[in-house]
C-alpha cells in the first residue's frame, strides 16, 4: 500500500515579509510530489491552527527571519496542543545553531538552517510525517 500524499502547510509566522525562502521551499516540496497549502504572510498561531484543521495538514512548515522564533515557535506548538492536533512543526529561516536545542525542547520537530539543500528539506518533512503516522 502506498502512503497517501503528504499535505504540508507553509506559513510565515509573525510580521516579517521575507518570503523568498518559503516560496522556494513550497516549489521544491511540490516538485517532490507533496501537496502544498501556502498560507503566505502575516499568519498567527491561531490562523495556522485553523487552516491546519480545515486542510487536514500532515505537517506545518514555518519560516522566520525576525529573530522571534524562540517566542513564536513554542506558541505555535502550544496552540496545536490546545487544539489537540498532533501535527509536526518544522522551522526554517535564520535560526542560530545554539537555538536549535531550545526549539526542539519546545516541541518543534525539526529546524532547517539557511542553505539546507533540497534533498534535506524533503527528507526532513518526510521523516517528521512518517514519525507522526507511525505513532498517531
Amino acid at each position: 500500500m502506498t502512503e497517501p500524499n503528504i499535505r504540508i502547510l507553509l506559513a510565515k509566522l509573525g510580521l516579517d515579509g521575507h518570503d523568498r525562502g518559503l516560496k522556494v521551499v513550497a516549489r521544491l516540496l511540490r516538485d517532490a510530489g507533496m501537496e502544498v497549502i501556502y498560507l503566505g504572510l502575516r499568519q498567527t498561531a491561531e490562523s495556522i491552527v485553523a487552516a491546519a484543521e480545515q486542510e487536514d495538514a500532515d505537517a506545518i512548515g514555518l519560516s522566520m527571519h525576525n529573530a522571534g522564533h524562540l517566542t513564536l515557535a513554542p506558541r505555535m506548538v502550544a496552540a496545536l496542543a490546545v487544539a489537540e492536533l498532533e501535527i509536526p512543526v518544522i522551522v526554517g529561516g535564520i535560526v542560530p545553531d545554539e537555538d536549535v536545542a531550545a526549539l526542539r525542547d519546545a516541541g518543534v520537530a525539526a529546524v532547517l538552517g539557511p542553505g539546507a539543500p533540497a534533498e534535506e528539506v524533503v527528507d526532513v518533512v518526510r521523516r517528521a510525517v512518517d514519525q507522526r503516522r507511525s505513532t498517531g
Binding site: L15, G17, K23, R27, H65, N66, G68, T71, I94, G115
Partner: protein, 546 residues
C-alpha cells in the same frame, strides 16, 4: 576623436577644473600620474551620465559611508550611532524593528516576540528623541528605512529637530518611502496601493515646499533583488517604480523639475561583479533619457540617478560566516566602480543574526579600504570603454526597456497604471519567485557554486560564534516605557488630533503631513496614527501565490 567628442572633452575639462578636489596624490602606488577619466565621451557629469553623475567623481568627494543600524531600544541604537560616527561613518541610517515597520505598537499582540529584534522599536516621539539624543540634526544626514508608516516617522524626526531648535528646512536626509516595491518584494505594506501612493505624494509635496535638503523617496531595487530577481529585473522594476512616482507627483500638479532633483535610488551590489557595474551604469543612462524625453525634465539635477548601494545580504552564507568579509569587499568594489554616491557594506554575521559591533566595524573598514587603499577612486568610471562592460551595460538597458514596454502596455500608456496592474495581477511577485527558484535549482544541482555551502565546506565552526542577542527584557522595557508615555499625555488632545487625521484622510485634496505632525506632537503612538488612517484607507492583504 570626433568633433563631437572634442566638444564633450572640452566641456568636461571645464567642469572638472571647477571641482574642488580632495587633497591626495592622484597617481598609482609606483608614482605613475593618472588622468581623472580615460576613453571616450560622453564623460562623467555629461548626459546621459552613464559614466557618472559628477565630472570629478570620487576625486572631489568619496561616497558617503552610510551604515545601517538599529536594534533594541532607542537608547541602544543611539549608542551604536555614536560609535559609527566616532569610527568615521559619515551618515546615519536607521533600521526599525518589524512592529514599527508594520505600524504596530510594542504593546500590540502582533508585536509579541519581535520588539527591538530586527531593528529599533519606535512607538512615540519620546522614543525618537532618545534615538537622536546628543546628535546634531543640523549637521548629520539621516536615512530612515521605513515605508508604510513613513509619514509618521518623518513627522517624528521633524518634531525632534524642532524641539532641539533645528528648523525642518535644515534637515538633510532620506526616507525610503518606496511603497511600490513593498507590494512587489519586501511586503511591508499597510494600506492598498492607491491610498499609500497618496501618502507618498503628500510627503513629496510637503518636503518639496518645506524641506529642500530632504529626499522624500528612495526608489529601491535592493529588496527586489534580495527577494530573488535578476539584475535586469531589479534595474527595470526599480526604474519603472521611479517613473510611477514621477507620474503620480505630476498628476497632483507638481512640476517635474520641482521634485525630481530630490529623488534618489537604492540598488543592490551582488556578487556577479561586472553585471553589477553594468547595472548601475545602465540605471543612470535610462533614468536620464526617460526623465528628459518622456517626462520633459529640463533641469540637470532632475536627470541624475543618484545611487545608494548596499552589498547583497542574500549572498552571505551562514556557513563559514567569516568568508562573507571577502564577498562584501568584492561587492563594495563593484559599487565603487559602478559610481555609487553612498554605500552600506554588510556585516559578515548577517546570515545568522543582527550584526555585532565588531562585525559592523569590519564592514565599515572594508569600504574604507576600497576608498583609501585601492586607488579605484582616482579615476572616474575606470571600466568605461571595456568592450565587455559596455556590451553588458547595453544588454541591461535592452532588457529593462522590454520590461518598460510591457508595463506601458499594461497601463495603456501610463507606467503608473502599469505598475498598479502588475501588482494586482501578480506579475512582479511571479517574475521574482521564478528567478529565485531558478537560482536555487542551480545551487542545488551544483551548477552554481556557493563557497562553503555546496563546495569547500570544511572549516565551519558553529560552536565559536559570537552573535548579537536581543533578550526579552527589551520587549518588557519598551512596553513599560510606552505605558508611561500614555499615562503622561493629554488623552483628549490625542483623540482630537487622530479624529482630525481620519477626517482629513477622506479629502484627497488635503495634505496629511500637517495633521500627522499634530498627532505626533500630541504623543499619539505610531499604531494609533496608522489605525486612524486605516479607518479611511483599509488594509491590504496579498493574494498568496507561489
Amino acid at each position: 576623436m570626433s568633433a563631437m567628442d572634442g566638444d564633450d572633452r572640452s566641456r568636461w575639462s571645464k567642469a572638472y577644473e571647477g571641482a574642488v578636489l580632495r587633497d591626495v596624490p592622484f597617481e598609482t602606488m609606483s608614482g605613475v600620474p593618472v588622468e581623472p577619466v580615460y576613453g571616450a565621451g560622453p564623460y562623467p557629469g555629461q548626459y546621459p551620465y552613464t559614466r557618472g553623475v559628477h565630472p570629478a567623481m570620487y576625486r572631489s568627494r568619496l561616497w558617503t559611508m552610510r551604515m545601517f543600524a538599529g536594534f533594541g531600544t532607542a537608547e541602544d541604537t543611539n549608542g551604536r550611532f555614536k560609535e559609527l560616527l566616532h569610527h568615521g561613518g559619515t551618515g546615519l541610517s536607521t533600521a526599525f524593528d518589524m512592529p514599527t515597520l508594520m505600524g504596530h505598537d510594542s504593546d500590540s499582540g502582533w508585536a509579541l516576540g519581535e520588539v527591538g529584534r530586527a531593528g529599533v522599536a519606535i512607538d512615540t516621539l519620546a522614543d525618537m528623541r532618545d534615538l537622536f539624543a546628543d546628535i546634531d540634526l543640523a549637521t548629520v544626514s539621516t536615512s530612515m528605512t521605513i515605508n508604510g508608516p513613513a509619514p509618521i516617522l518623518l513627522a517624528m524626526y521633524i518634531a525632534v529637530a524642532e524641539q532641539t531648535g533645528v528648523e525642518r528646512s535644515a534637515l538633510a536626509g532620506t526616507i525610503q518611502n518606496d511603497i511600490l516595491k513593498e507590494y512587489q518584494a519586501q511586503k511591508e505594506y499597510i494600506y492598498p496601493p492607491r491610498p499609500s501612493m497618496r501618502l507618498v505624494t503628500d510627503m513629496m509635496r510637503f518636503t518639496t515646499a518645506e524641506m529642500p535638503l530632504w529626499h522624500p523617496v528612495s526608489i529601491s531595487g535592493y529588496h527586489i533583488r534580495e527577494a530573488g530577481s535578476t539584475a535586469a529585473q531589479e534595474l527595470a522594476f526599480t526604474l519603472a517604480n521611479g517613473f510611477a512616482y514621477v507620474e503620480a507627483a505630476r498628476s497632483t500638479g507638481l512640476p517635474v523639475d520641482d521634485f525630481a532633483k530630490r529623488l534618489s535610488f537604492f540598488f543592490n551590489a551582488h556578487i556577479d561583479f561586472f553585471e553589477e557595474i553594468a547595472k548601475l551604469r545602465a540605471a543612470r543612462r535610462i533614468w536620464a533619457r526617460w526623465m528628459k524625453e518622456r517626462y520633459g525634465a529640463t533641469a540637470e539635477r532632475s536627470l541624475l540617478c543618484r545611487i545608494h548601494t548596499q552589498t547583497a545580504g542574500v549572498s552571505l552564507t551562514a556557513q563559514q560566516p567569516e568568508i562573507n568579509i571577502a564577498r562584501v569587499a568584492i561587492q563594495a568594489l563593484a559599487a565603487a566602480l559602478g559610481g555609487t554616491q553612498s554605500l552600506h557594506t554588510d556585516s559578515y554575521d548577517e546570515a545568522l543574526a543582527l550584526p555585532t559591533e565588531e562585525a559592523a566595524r569590519i564592514a565599515l573598514r572594508t569600504q574604507q579600504i576600497v576608498a583609501h587603499e585601492t586607488g579605484v577612486t582616482n579615476v572616474a568610471d575606470p571600466l568605461g570603454g571595456s568592450a565587455y562592460v559596455e556590451e553588458l551595460t547595453d544588454e541591461m538597458e535592452r532588457q529593462a526597456e522590454a520590461i518598460f514596454a510591457h508595463l506601458d502596455e499594461l497601463g495603456e500608456g501610463s507606467i503608473l497604471e502599469g505598475v498598479y496592474a502588475g501588482i494586482e495581477n501578480g506579475y512582479f511577485v511571479g517574475e521574482i519567485a521564478d528567478a529565485a527558484y531558478r537560482f536555487e535549482r542551480g545551487v542545488n544541482d551544483g551548477q552554481r557554486i556557493v563557497v562553503g555551502v555546496n563546495a569547500f565546506t570544511d572549516g565551519d565552526d558553529p560552536e565559536n560564534r559570537n552573535l548579537l542577542r536581543i533578550g526579552p527584557e527589551t520587549e518588557d522595557y519598551q512596553r513599560k516605557r510606552l505605558d508611561a508615555v500614555k499615562a503622561d499625555r493629554d488623552g483628549q488632545r490625542v483623540q482630537d488630533t487622530l479624529a482630525q487625521l481620519t477626517s482629513d484622510a477622506a479629502d484627497p485634496t488635503l495634505n496629511l503631513m500637517p495633521p500627522i505632525l499634530d498627532a505626533v506632537r500630541a504623543m499619539a503612538t505610531e499604531g494609533e496614527i496608522v489605525d486612524a488612517l486605516r479607518e479611511e484607507f483599509g488594509t491590504y492583504v496579498e493574494k498568496a501565490v507561489i
